[in-house]
Homo-oligomer: 145 residues x 4
Amino acid sequence: MALQKLSHMDELISNRIKESFSKQGFMETLGAEIILIEKGKVIIQCPFHSKLSQQNDFFHAGVMTSIVDSACGYAAYTMMPNQSDVLTVEFKINFLKPANTNNIYAIGTVIQAGRKLVICDGIVTNEKQDKVFAKMTATLITINK
Amino acid sequence: MALQKLSHMDELISNRIKESFSKQGFMETLGAEIILIEKGKVIIQCPFHSKLSQQNDFFHAGVMTSIVDSACGYAAYTMMPNQSDVLTVEFKINFLKPANTNNIYAIGTVIQAGRKLVICDGIVTNEKQDKVFAKMTATLITINK
Amino acid sequence: MALQKLSHMDELISNRIKESFSKQGFMETLGAEIILIEKGKVIIQCPFHSKLSQQNDFFHAGVMTSIVDSACGYAAYTMMPNQSDVLTVEFKINFLKPANTNNIYAIGTVIQAGRKLVICDGIVTNEKQDKVFAKMTATLITINK
Amino acid sequence: MALQKLSHMDELISNRIKESFSKQGFMETLGAEIILIEKGKVIIQCPFHSKLSQQNDFFHAGVMTSIVDSACGYAAYTMMPNQSDVLTVEFKINFLKPANTNNIYAIGTVIQAGRKLVICDGIVTNEKQDKVFAKMTATLITINK
């Protein structure tokens, strides 16, 4: 997966997402970065660091979960009117393989956007996208600010 | 919730859990600490820090998820024979309230321990345990080392 | 678990639930009956019949799931204003034990009721309530009619 | 979706699945039929009948859940050695649209088959496969008979 430039979709939404992301102290702690924003799809990259490890020195499940939850949240955000915010109601995640790799990529994709609820699929994969480390389904709700 | 001393249950299991926990770079990054280990139950505490925040400066959902996943994992671990390890197969988590508090406590409790699989309930709560911020059900598997 | 009389709570809500339940052809097909309606809690009973079996002649997982989903749905319904309807957004269920028993009881309990969303816990148990066959967490949404 | 003939894959597995399915009294009660068995994939069809309805006379969520759980279970079964059985550990299902259609089709697909655990995706769709009514992720375990 080559590092992709942000598309020229809605600059407004893209800027709001980048601004929101920059306010998340935790994403900075993880060293995570948004590398793609499209209508209905967001990709977040996170390089390995020993401060992100579990006991066997792979990516901690909590790190994978955190970035794919964010990717789903921002994917939902691309579908929403300007004055709305989005909250994760719940998600389920299956861990399929240990993430012993240098970089993980979380891909969040909207599969249904209703008036109040948005349902997203998320995966955590490697650069080549030939391994899926984890797989999420998330339910999000729009909040009028 | 007063900081509770580790019980005198199986010192061996307790020591193995503390050793495993100390190898998780990510738990140190979060500033998380185990404050209770009992047969079938583990509590992890995590103080707020801006590096753990989401965009509204509360605890990030990923932080809550990470510590309650660990609490469930170590709760499962207390049920296992010595030469086993434990992996999270999957979990589902509902986020019930924003975690605008100084400390969060993740309580993992075993609800069924089979030969291969262990099912745990997890909650993320405040010190008084009068608010539940998030609620998890997790499936874990034992691995013979 | 003795068959419990319906409580004298809100007769209106209770009647609306019984009317809705009676319109569900599938609940009649299962032979399921509501045996308790309280604010935030509903219990549904279902006797075993070979037409409800899986391949080993126990209750089919789908039967357990169907009645506990209904119990959660009607538990949510007890919390709602009169002109609302309720839909299941999603649920997760763990199957803990084979249900080799004469009657199963599904207990749905509201754990959080917000303006739009209601979160419920559900269990499927036996008459003595000393075995839990399955455990659900469900998210429901209110719809204004 | 034209009614598809059973493929000529492993006749042995296919026959074992059909035999197991025929023992499930509940599948007969639903009027469900297996219409495709392939390595890692099973499709079950279910025609609408008022005995399968919810209160608005669409397919009951419990019916959709029951057949897609079975489709996932038998999809897992196609991956297993002969002397094994398969049990559903847990699943999560999101309901995306009301199923107001004459026939529903549940498609279960294996996404990872390990030594003990199999993870499946399931969807419930219409004949043209242009609407997804529900979406499941399921975890199953193999049991040596």
